[in-house]
Symmetry: C2
DNA sequence: TGTTAATATGCAACAGAGTTGCATATGTAT
DNA sequence: ATACATATGCAACTCTGTTGCATATTAACA
C-alpha cells in the first residue's frame, strides 16, 4: 500500500492566504478540470479556511458572487472526486470539506466524540498513530481517527443523576 | 483518560444468539431504562447482528411486532445515550448501530473508504492501532479509524483515462 | 478571432434519513 | 389497583443533499 502522509504534500504552500487565482487555475488544470468561476471561487475559499468547511459556510462566503447552491454542491463533488479536497462527516450528518494534504489545525489529529452530548473535541496534542502498510494497490491519502465515549462535562452530570 | 478497550467489555457474552429476554431486561434495568416491548425487541435484534445495522434493517426485522418507525429511532437514541449501543457513520449518511464492546467481525478494525467510488472496505487483518492515554476525565469506549484514498479498481480506471 | 462540441450552471422540483408535537398507551413505584 | 412519569403511534415536518432539463460557458480547433 502506498502511504502518502499529509505532511508530505503541498509543503511549499505556506503563503496560503496569498494563493492567487493563477495558482488555483493551475491546480484545476493539473487535475484536468475546466477552470470555471465557481470552481476557482470555491477552491479559493477552501484554501483560505483553517478548518474543514460546510457547504452552508462556503455558500455564505460566496453569496457576493451569485453562485447557485446546487453549483456549490456540484463543484465540491467534482473537487472531491479529483482528489483536490476530501469530505469529513463527524457525526452530525453534515459534510465538511477540506483541501487534501494541507495542515488544517482543526483536522489532522484524533477527535473525541461524546455519545451523550455529541460534542466533538480536537485532540490536537496527540499525533495520529502511524498506520502500518496494509495492502498493495491501495493509495492512502488521508486518515481519520475517532474516539467515542463520555466527556467530562457529561460524566459529572451523569454522576449526579439518581435515575432517568 | 480512562481507556476501556472493547476487548475488556462483555467478555462473558459468548452465547450471543441465545441471549434471552431476561438477560436483555437486565441490561436495560442496569442502565436505569424502562423495559418496554420496543426496547427489548430492538436490543435483541442488535445483539444477534454480526455487523452494525441500519434503522431500516432493524425496522424490517421487527415488522412482525408492529413497532412504529419513529419508535425504532427513539429506542436507538435512548440505547445510544445510555452507552448500550453506539452509532457509526461510514460515509453514506446513514447511521448504523452496534452493541458497544461486542466483537463485531464487521466493525472492530480500520476501514478504507475510496474517494472515487465510495466503497468501504474492511481491513480486518489489521488491528486497531493502540491509542495512548490522552486526557484525564474522558472515558473512551470505542475507537474508529478510517483510511481514505483510491481503491485498486478505481486506480486502474483512472490510469486508462486520457482526460475528463 | 469565430465556430463548435462538450460540459458546467441555474432553477425548480424532488429524495429520504431523521425529528417533532401532541394525544394516547404503557411501565413502574406505591 | 392506582397514579404518575414516560414511551409510543401517527402525521406533519426539517433539512442536507440530488436530479432533470433548458441555457450558458469553456476550451479545442479551424
Ligand atoms: Mn479537530
Ligand atoms: Mn468493517
Ligand atoms: Zn458530552
Ligand atoms: Zn474506488
Amino acid at each position: 500500500m502506498i502511504l502518502i502522509h499529509w505532511r508530505d504534500n503541498f509543503t511549499a504552500r505556506q503563503n496560503d492566504a496569498a494563493m492567487n487565482e493563477k495558482n488555483i487555475r493551475a491546480i484545476l488544470r493539473k487535475a484536468n478540470l475546466r477552470c470555471t468561476r465557481g470552481r476557482v471561487d470555491v477552491l479559493q475559499v477552501l484554501l483560505e479556511s483553517p478548518d474543514p468547511t460546510t457547504h452552508e459556510d462556503l455558500h455564505k462566503k460566496l453569496q457576493g458572487t451569485g453562485i447557485n447552491r446546487v453549483t456549490v454542491y456540484r463543484v465540491l463533488e467534482t473537487l472531491q472526486k479529483s482528489g483536490i479536497v476530501h469530505r469529513v462527516e463527524a457525526g452530525d450528518r453534515i459534510w465538511r470539506f477540506a483541501v487534501c494534504g494541507r495542515m488544517h489545525p482543526g483536522h489532522c489529529h484524533p477527535h473525541f466524540i461524546c455519545r451523550q452530548c455529541g460534542k466533538i473535541e480536537c485532540l490536537k496534542e496527540f499525533p495520529m498513530p502511524d498506520m502500518p502498510s496494509v495492502a498493495k494497490d491501495y493509495t492512502v491519502e488521508e486518515q481519520e481517527m475517532y474516539l467515542r465515549g463520555i466527556c467530562p462535562n457529561c460524566a459529572s452530570k451523569i454522576k449526579n443523576l439518581k435515575c432517568k
